[in-house]
Structures are given as C-alpha cells and as structure tokens.
C-alpha cells in the first residue's frame, strides 16, 4: 500500500539565522527513514508522467521503487543510466516545473519529492562508494568538448561510456563551469561537483584546463590539426548585461557574474583569500532570477543588508520558489515594482544610492507577463554602497568570431538543429547556454546528451 499522506516530507535545513552567516549547505538532506517514507508516496502510475517532465528522462518510478525498499545503490544505478550528475541535479534542478509538476500526487496534495529523493540517492552512493569506473572498450574515435559546465560534462560522460577518446577543453583553471564559478557553495557544495568530475576522469575523460577555444586553439584547428572527428560546443553564457543607466561603472557596481566568480571560484568569502571583494553594508541586487537570488544570498552571508530590486511583482519573479523562500527567510528584502534609473556616486566615485522609478503592471507583453510601466512622477532614492546587476548575459563572442561558417542568431546564440544539436558546420555540435542563452543546468545537460547521441550516430555511419 502506498503512503497516502498528502504532504511530502519536509527537507531538513540549517536554521536561517545561522545559515545567513555561513557558506555551508542550506539543505541537509533526507535521512534513510525520510527517504523511504517519501518514496512510498509514489503511486507508480502506468503512464509515468514524471518521466515526460524530465529533460534527461530519468526512470523516476523505477528508482523510487528501489528507494522504497531500501536498496539505494540499485536506485543510484537506475538514475545514472540517464543522468551524468545526479548529486548536482538533485540540488539545482527546478523539479517543481519539471518532473514534480507532472506528478499525480500533486493534483490533491503535494507531489512526490522526486528531487530530494534523487539527491538522497546520489549522496548515499557517494558516501558509500569510492570513485571507480570500469573503463569501457575504446572505439578508436576522438572527440572534443568545449567547456566543462553541465552540458560539456554530460556530453563527455556519454562519449566516454560509448568508448570515445574524449577531451574537454576548459578556459578557466578549474573544471565545472557555472557549477563552480556561479552556483554558490551553500546551494551546491564544490566537493560534490569535484566528485562528479573525478568520476568522469575515472571513465577516461581528459580535461585540459587553461585552454580557451577561439583563442588558444580554434575549432578548425581542433578538427584539422588535432584530429578530433567532432566537436561539441558547450561554452555557456557569456558577457553580463547591464542596464545602460548612468552610474553603472561606479566603484561598487558588479555584474552578478563578477560578484559570484569572486565569491565562489576565487573563494573571496574565505578570510585568507587573495581575491578581493566589496562586502558592502547595503547591497542591492537588480533582477529576479536564480542568479539574482544566489548573488543576494552570498552578499547576505558576507554580512550585508541586502535588497532585491525587481521591476515586476513577486508573481513574475523568474527564480525558483524555493530560492525565493530561502532568500526571504535569510532576511533579504524585496522591493517589487521598482526599476533603477540611475546609480548615484559619492565624491570618491563609490556607489552611494540608486534613484529608482516606481512601476505598475500594465498590459501583457510578448512573454505573456504583464508589462511593468512607470508611475509618472513616482521616484525614490535608496541609499546603498554596492549594486549587483543580475540581468542575464549575452553569448561569448570568442568562438563565433573565429569559426567561419558557424551560423548564429542575431543576438549571438549558436543556431542548432533542435533534435541533434547540429550546427551549420559539419561535425560541430552545440548545446546549453551557448545556444539558448541563460537557462538551467538540466536543460544544458539534456542538450549535451542529445548531441553526444547525434555525434555517435554520425560517426558510426561514416
């Protein structure tokens, strides 16, 4: 008999008062008992709607059935057939708008906590086994992956399991892409990312850090001189966007990318760090996405009073509900229907305040959300010492500028065939944020998986 309780097992978390002063992980994970109890809530529907909601098609009811019987290792093996990074996805996937959204239990009550179960299974496996992988039989083909973020790691993992000689080229000194420079430690501990990367290395994936494709080596050189038969471009999102308002280049104005990179990759939150960061007393984060929440929560942990400035209302916030709730619990202030017009500096060129326009919601725009329109004459000045712009990114130009015949959108994203990830260049595939613009980890992983399958088919047909 399934467990028919309407509500899901809550995720144990660090107390907000305590966690807003540290960078340790917020969510603590289920116990075995909680996991089994939660797994028993699954009805094992015949039509498995949850799988349809998963970009990488994890066999969700099957793994949950194993959790329900306490066979966690078997559950892990089922997840890892489809997902290269279960411990990561269990933490950062927006399950509420994917697998859990489709769950039948969600119709009258709360859906099964699929993400929490995935996380539990991956953590259990990692705690009870060493990194090990039987290296598959090599198939004699050589492929390259550009970028070691979610799409690149997934793509490389699939290649390695099929026996390809695969090399990842990473521009930074550390592999992991947005998982290490962007998503903060308290949401995704770096040791978890490292473990997943070690696992890929054990499978035979080679990772070359400090190689900037488009500069150190071009795509053409990879194929013509280095002998790679195919290349997957997963170079991620690129340059931060700004508002183009006065005062954006004052001292104390950061892009979220810079603020997060300083904090996470360069470990500026540690007292002995050599990379400086302005901690600020009154920090404003402009934007309402997951990156804005990450930046706000980092600034909070560095000791600031933090305000999120967003031009629409709470209902339109693009961030995950869980992130918004966590941010609120940690004392982050939200100012909705507010849009900066100017950042005002002090006599030394540091940020002193933001002059903001009050907004109201008007008619729906192209995105279907009601467009914010200014309320004539309603302005306010918010005193601040640091501003973080979290407004999204535009694609990095290095590869498109150095690869002839690679078609891109007018805004710079690489154009691909959706079913395969194939670009306009023979043998060159792409996926993740480099194609879609800023999106989610799991969508990037899905794209890496799709491309690996398509490239495999292309090479095997030769």
């Amino acid at each position: 008999m399934p467990n028919m309780r309407m509500d899901r097992n809550p995720m144990p978390v660090q107390d907000p008062q305590i966690r807003s002063g540290n960078f340790s992980e917020v969510a603590l994970g289920y116990t075995k008992e909680q996991a089994i109890d939660e797994a028993q809530r699954c009805l094992h529907c015949k039509h498995k709607p949850c799988i349809a909601g998963c970009p990488v098609k994890v066999h969700i009811p099957e793994f949950i059935a194993k959790v329900a019987t306490g066979d966690f290792e078997a559950a892990y093996q089922i997840i890892s057939e489809s997902s290269a990074l279960p411990a990561v996805c269990g933490r950062v996937c927006p399950q509420e708008s994917q697998c859990e959204k489709m769950c039948v239990r969600g119709v009258k009550g709360e859906s099964v906590a699929i993400g929490r179960l995935e996380r539990f299974v991956a953590d259990y496996h990692n705690a009870h086994s060493e990194v090990s992988a039987a290296k598959p039989q090599m198939n004699g083909h050589k492929v390259a992956v550009v970028g070691s973020g979610p799409s690149g790691l997934t793509c490389a993992g699939d290649f390695a399991r099929k026996g390809y000689d695969v090399t990842i080229f990473e521009a930074l000194h550390l592999a992991g892409g947005v998982l290490v420079y962007g998503i903060p430690e308290f949401r995704l501990p770096k040791s978890i990312v490292q473990r997943e990367i070690d696992q890929l290395k054990a499978l035979g994936v080679k990772i070359e850090t400090n190689v900037i494709i488009g500069r150190t080596i071009t795509i053409d050189e990879l194929m013509q001189e280095y002998g790679f038969e195919a290349v997957f471009i997963g170079s991620g999102a690129g340059l931060p966007k700004f508002m183009n308002i006065p005062g954006e280049n004052l001292k104390g104005v950061y892009s979220a990318n810079e603020f997060l990179t300083r904090t996470n990759l360069m470990k500026a939150y540690q007292p002995d760090a050599t990379t400086p960061i302005r901690k600020g007393k009154h920090v404003a984060v402009v934007g309402g996405g997951n990156v804005a929440m990450d930046a706000a929560r980092c600034a909070r942990r560095l000791g600031a009073e933090v305000t999120i400035i967003y031009r629409r209302t709470e209902a339109e916030l693009p961030a995950r509900l869980e992130e918004i709730e966590h941010a609120k619990e940690e004392g982050i202030i939200f100012r909705f229907l507010t849009n900066p017009l100017e950042i005002i500096g002090d006599e030394d060129g540091w940020v002193a305040a933001a002059r903001c326009q009050k907004m109201q919601l008007g008619e729906p725009d192209a995105s279907g959300r009601r467009r914010p329109v200014p309320i004539e004459g309603a302005e306010e000045v918010i005193p601040l010492d640091t501003v973080i712009m979290a407004l999204g990114t535009s694609p990095n130009p290095l590869i498109r500028d150095t690869t002839d015949g690679l078609d891109t959108q007018h805004w710079g994203g690489i154009i691909v065939e959706e079913e395969t990830g194939k670009t306009s260049r023979e043998g060159v595939y792409a996926g993740g944020d480099a194609v879609t613009g800023a999106a989610t980890v799991i969508l990037a992983m899905g794209a890496g998986k799709t491309a690996a399958a398509a490239i495999d088919e292309m090479i095997q047909k030769k």
């Binding site: 190689v211 050599t274 990379t275």
Partner: protein, 279 residues
C-alpha cells in the same frame, strides 16, 4: 603548470620571466595578454605578452611588483612552475596598412610597447619610439628598443635618462615640428595615456591605447574589465585591450582601477611580511 625557463631583473621591482607555454607561444601576437596564477590560492592576474618565441615555445612577461600576486611571482626562479598560464587573450594590435607610426611606452608599459614596435619595425613601417621613465634606475629595454625602431627618443622625469620631461613633451615637439603619423600607439600609466590622447586629438592623429583594467577570467564572462568607449560599454578582455584613445573615458577607468587599492595594499604588505619571515 608552466615552467619558468629564465628570469632577469630589469631594474628594481621590474622582472622579466620567460615561461614554457607552447600553446600560447604558437598563437600569441603583440597586444594580446595572458592570465596567470602563481599557486593554488593565487588571484588570476592579466599580463600583456612582452615577447614570444614560437620555436622554443616560450612566452616572455615583464611585470612590476605592485601587489601580493606580483610579489609572489617575483620570488619564483628558473625551474619553478606557475600554477596556471592561459592565453593568448584579447585582440592583437592591428598593424595592417600602417606605414608610419609612433609607439609610446611609459614605465613598465614599455614591456607591452616593445613587441608592438618590434612587429611594426619588422613589417617595414617607419617606427618612431618614445619611451619614458621616472629616472635612469627605472629604465628598461633600452637596447631592445634601439634594435627595433627607426628612431628612439628617451625621456625621464628627472633628466637622468635621455631628455628631461614627459613622453608628451617629446611627442608635442615631433607633432609641432610637422611630423605626421598614420597612428600613435600608447601604452603606460592611465594618466600618461590620457595626456597623450589629449595631445594627439589636438593634432588629429589617430591614437590607440592599450588598457589594463581589473580582470578575473579574462575570457568574456565576469564583466569586471568594462570601460566606456565612445559612450558604450566595452569589455577589455574580448573587445580590447586596445581601443581608440580619443573615445576612452580615462577618468572612469582610473577610478575603477583604484577599486581595490586598500585591499591590495594590505595583501601586499602581508605577503611581504610572509617572505620576510621565511628569510
């Protein structure tokens, strides 16, 4: 990890390192830069390429000790390794069609001006070079510039090296005397570049300035290196580091470069103390 092949102290606090970096050496051109880390806990710092040898697979950098990371870098000896050395980054100096140029270097900026002058001179362009230093003790690369310029003008603030005065004094003399150039290329401290650009604007001579803002990744991700050029936001790492000097907002660039001065001074002192304790 990249091995240090050679090291030479050019003057007090300015050191040359030749680094084993075949991938970078194969591609780099004057005007481009690299990012390095000295050790696992190091900052990432950008340094513009001072020279390269494609056959040997080496890249030369010249740096001035200004903070914690350059202090650590200055303690590394031949045979030691750098933790990371990535590049080449940025766009190369545009030399196409230049027949007569004036390359101006100030202080350690001469290290970046040198490969530019060398390339232009090798391409057959008339290459006047003006280099300026505070005094004779701080002068670097004299012989190198002599060998790779049509005419070399030396300046120092106190007159102990070449003529007394600023590089702008020398340039003004040339321009006022009727010299014309296809382009002036200037690399040095921001106030110097600002002064040169103001002067060449008066004379209507196109001027390129090489910018060295604060950077982290250097690959077009963090946006820390942004500048205002012609009223638009530009990123030094992917759009530069060279820009039309008449369009750069130098005052903003100077303010932004001072953002971490306090932190850096503190980190520098701590690092110096550490090295003193070791000794």
């Amino acid at each position: 990890m990249n091995k240090i092949l050679a090291r030479q102290e050019l003057c007090k606090n300015i050191t040359l390192l030749r680094i084993d970096a075949p991938l970078v050496a194969r591609k780099c051109e004057p005007g481009q830069f690299i990012i390095l880390r000295t050790d696992e806990n190091s900052e990432r710092i950008p340094l513009t390429v001072a020279d390269f040898d494609r056959e040997e697979g080496s890249v030369t950098i010249i740096f001035q000790v200004v903070g914690a990371t350059t202090e650590k870098l200055n303690h590394l000896m031949p045979g030691d390794y750098l933790q990371d050395f990535a590049g080449p980054l940025g766009r190369m100096t545009q030399t196409d069609g230049l027949k007569k140029v004036c390359v101006i270097g100030g202080g350690v900026g001469c290290a970046i001006a040198y490969p530019v002058a060398k390339k232009l001179h090798a391409l057959g362009a008339h290459t006047d070079v003006i280099i300026g230093f505070r005094n004779k003790e701080l002068a670097i690369l004299d012989e190198a510039f002599s060998a790779h310029s049509t005419r070399l003008i030396r300046m120092s603030d106190d007159g102990t090296y070449g003529d007394k005065g600023f590089v702008t004094d020398a340039l003004k003399k040339l321009l006022a005397g009727g010299e014309t150039y296809d382009e002036v290329i200037v690399i040095g401290p921001l106030p110097m570049m600002k002064a040169v650009c103001a002067l060449t604007k008066e004379y209507g001579v196109k001027t390129i300035a090489s910018m060295n803002p604060v950077m982290i990744d250097g690959t077009g991700m963090c946006g820390g290196c942004r500048l205002t050029v012609g009223g638009q936001v530009k990123f030094a790492c992917v759009d530069g580091p060279e820009f039309d000097g008449h369009l750069i907002d130098f005052d903003e660039a100077m303010a932004r470069n001072g953002q971490y001065r306090e932190f850096e001074r503190h980190a520098y002192e701590e690092t110096c103390n550490l090295f003193r304790e070791v000794k």
